[in-house]
């Protein structure tokens, strides 16, 4: 055991008042070395902290923040030390307030020794941060925690070899049992005695040269090696950019220009290239230093993971995934086979049963509320259970498989280049992907995008060209037998997405958004995870859809009784007539404004009734997809983007949707001869 002190230490520093309820703690002795435990969440930092410091600790807010940092005192190598347990940190590129505080502790140089606590079971994912910490030049020790669990899983780490390669002590520990903690204490003391030393990470593939070209421009005084700041400048970190501007005599302009030049020279997102290099270097460092007996992750997953992010291979794979997942599984199986089966059940058993149940009711209006044309049971319940639920169920299953495999972040990297001319970055994949599940939810997620310009464009594209799961399933099902109509729909929607995005990027001023992401590993989807996620989403959807579908039926029933519904349909009939669509389609558009999926179910009914030919199906599908978003999505647009922007989008989308339908009608009629 290290010489752990049982004394407490006051947090009466600039850190603010102690939040920890307990006896006042004595101040840390003068000259106490400061040791910061840094690492990802759940790697055992707190357990190690308590092993190093004993039970009496203080918790205080980090200066200027509401983020808590725990402090305790210890005797390490015969001298007093203050140990800091910091919030979880995956990378020096910080996203959350907690991460920013942990990063500040590293970059401010306030720690005399940094202990990087890593999970020995997931060393591949932890080592890129080790490289970043090494780059800072501060004395570093790696605590290889949970070595026992790793061993049980067949993972053996050669700490000595890894230590020799990194040039710092790597100490295997089991923090919860206290094993290895004494050795760790000695290693910390040795690192303290050795002091800070510059370390240069040898990045390859032109990344090293690019970083060096920026590093040479930094002439200010920095508390740690400025190399740490360089990588973050490339990654577009605004806090670090401000810090560099403050420390450089020219306000950081030379460094900024060097970053821009180097980024152009690299020809790919620099942040991504740096991240890839760090992973490559981590792999080299671990080669031969880690052995996974019987638990080796399949190499083919690594290879596939790389292929998915390269346009030449990633785009064909994306098309295959969309064909089998969306078209074959959701469109043909979910919206075809399963819906046919359930619809048959409703027609043969459920509807006749309800009709017989309400047959004795003498008042026709009351009877029609339950079993009429727009009846609660014959329309609302049937739409929700027999049409929409199997479609969204199939979609959510497909979605959960992709989600659990780790495909989505790779898709974000793949489309980052495509999204750039649309004023978006790969990060916009998150709302776009979620939009296929629910556009309302996705509109809310646009707030996580970096710039206002990006948020506005993403909101507009979600409202215009991203169909929700039910709408997508129905459209794929009704167009699956008509290849030309399906091609026209795909071309119209994809064309609208690209055209409006590109126009939006030209009209709206602003700098292009940057995108950086650490990729989680690609993995085989687990059946349990997929089931849980699919069930949870279906459960939510059904609970949301059923009451709203029933409410829609009641509103339609009232509208039918009062004649208001007929007036609205009559007003829309000339418009749908312009598109060569039958008058019944006007009702479907009205349904669609209430809810996209309700409109989709109405279109499905029209197709089943044989009311539409192939061209009309394509025209109706295009117009309905582009048509104004449902009420819930519109309210979210108002909330997120403001009334003026939301109304402006509505005013743009409505004629655009009908114009798009008109154009598709003209083109297809001409092609049909």
């Amino acid at each position: 055991m290290p010489e752990a002190s049982r004394s407490t230490q006051a947090a009466k520093s600039a850190a603010g008042p102690a939040c920890h309820a307990g006896p006042p703690a004595p101040a840390a002795p003068a000259g106490a070395a400061r040791v910061a435990l840094i690492g990802a969440p759940n790697v055992g930092k707190s357990a190690l902290f308590h092993r190093l410091t004993g039970h009496y600790v203080t918790v205080s807010n980090y200066p200027g923040t509401s983020v808590e940092v725990t402090r305790g005192s210890a005797w390490l190598g015969g001298r007093p030390a203050e140990v800091l347990d910091t919030p979880g940190l995956y990378s020096l590129l910080a996203w959350t307030d907690e991460e920013r505080v942990a990063r500040r502790i590293v970059l401010s140089g306030e720690a005399d020794v940094v202990v990087h606590v890593v999970d020995a079971k997931a060393l591949e994912r932890m080592l890129p941060l080790t490289l970043q910490l090494l780059e800072s030049g501060r004395p570093l020790v790696v605590a290889l925690n949970m070595i026992d669990e790793a061993s049980r899983l067949g993972v053996e780490v050669d700490a000595r070899r890894l230590s020799a390669r990194l040039g710092v002590a790597v100490v295997p520990v089991v923090a919860v049992e206290g094993r290895g903690v004494e050795e760790l204490g000695r290693a910390i003391a040795a690192a303290l005695a050795a002091g800070a030393r510059p370390v240069r990470i040898l990045y390859g593939n032109s990344v090293g040269e690019a970083m060096l070209s920026v590093r040479e421009r930094l002439v200010g005084v920095y508390p740690v090696d400025p190399a740490s700041f360089v990588a973050l400048l490339f990654q577009g970190d605004s806090e670090v950019a401000a810090e560099v501007a403050r420390r450089e005599p020219d306000g950081g302009s030379a460094a900024r220009a060097a970053v821009d030049r180097a980024t152009t020279a690299l020809g790919a997102p620099a942040s991504y290239r740096i991240s890839v290099e760090r992973r490559r270097l981590s792999g080299e460092l671990l080669d031969g230093a880690i052995v996974r007996a019987g638990a080796n992750p399949p190499r083919w997953l690594d290879v596939l993971g790389r292929l998915l992010t390269r346009p030449a291979t990633g785009i064909p794979v994306l098309l295959i995934v969309l064909y089998f997942g969306l078209y074959a599984f959701v469109g043909q199986f979910g919206a075809g086979t399963v819906v046919d089966w359930l619809e048959g059940g409703f027609e043969r058993y459920v509807t006749p049963f309800f009709e017989s149940l309400f047959a004795p009711v003498p008042w026709a209006p009351v009877r029609s509320l339950f079993v009429g044309e727009y009846g609660l049971l014959t329309l609302g319940l049937r739409y929700a259970v027999a049409i929409i639920l199997p479609i969204v169920g199939a979609f959510f299953l497909f979605f959960s498989v992709l989600e659990d495999s780790g495909y989505f972040p790779r898709l974000a990297l793949l489309v980052d280049r495509v999204f750039k001319p649309l004023g978006l970055s790969g990060r916009a994949v998150i709302p776009m992907v979620l939009g296929f599940a629910c556009d309302t939810m996705a509109t809310m997620v646009t707030r996580t995008l970096e710039t206002r310009r990006e948020r506005v464009i993403a909101t507009l594209l979600l409202a215009l060209a991203i169909p929700c799961s039910a709408q997508l399933g129905v459209i794929l099902a009704i167009l699956s037998g008509e290849p030309l109509a399906l091609a026209a729909w795909v071309a119209a929607i994809a064309g609208s997405f690209l055209l409006v995005g590109a126009l939006g990027a030209r009209v709206l001023p602003g700098a292009p958004a940057r995108f950086h992401m650490e990729l989680p590993p690609l993995r085989r989807p687990r059946a349990g995870n997929v089931f849980l996620k699919t069930y949870t989403r279906m459960h939510w959807y059904f609970l949301e859809v059923l009451p709203l579908f029933l409410l829609a039926s009641v509103l339609l029933w009232i509208g039918n009784l009062t004649g208001l519904f007929g007036v609205a349909v009559s007003a829309l009939t000339p418009v749908v007539g312009l598109l060569d669509l039958p008058p019944e389609t006007a009702a479907v558009f009205l349904f669609g404004f209430f809810r996209r999926d309700y409109g989709a179910a109405g279109l499905f009914d029209l197709d089943r009734a044989g009311s539409l030919d192939a061209v009309q199906l394509a025209v109706a599908a295009v117009t309905l997809t582009l048509f104004v978003p449902c009420i819930a999505q519109f309210l979210m647009m108002v909330r997120e983007r403001g009334v003026r922007t939301a109304v402006g989008m509505l005013v743009f989308i409505t004629p655009f949707a009908f114009g798009g339908g008109l154009l598709v009608n003209l083109l297809l009629r001409r092609l049909a001869g």
Partner: protein, 60 residues
């Protein structure tokens, strides 16, 4: 919980409940990841328990 998009771990109560701000006020049982903003579905506790009971070593 682990974010299904970025793979980072966060406490469930550190994520923002997504449905609180939905105009429908629906209980979609989704929690937004504080790192990337992705909305993660949160399975009902009984289902999670059932899964652990059926497959004790299968990590969620």
């Amino acid at each position: 919980m682990t974010c299904a998009f970025c793979g980072r771990e966060f406490e469930e109560d550190r994520g923002q409940p997504a449905c609180q701000q939905c105009p429908l006020g629906a209980d979609c049982r989704a929690v937004r990841c504080p790192y990337c903003g992705y909305e993660n579905p949160v399975p009902p506790p009984w289902l999670v328990k059932l899964r652990h009971w059926l497959v004790p070593h299968d990590a969620h």
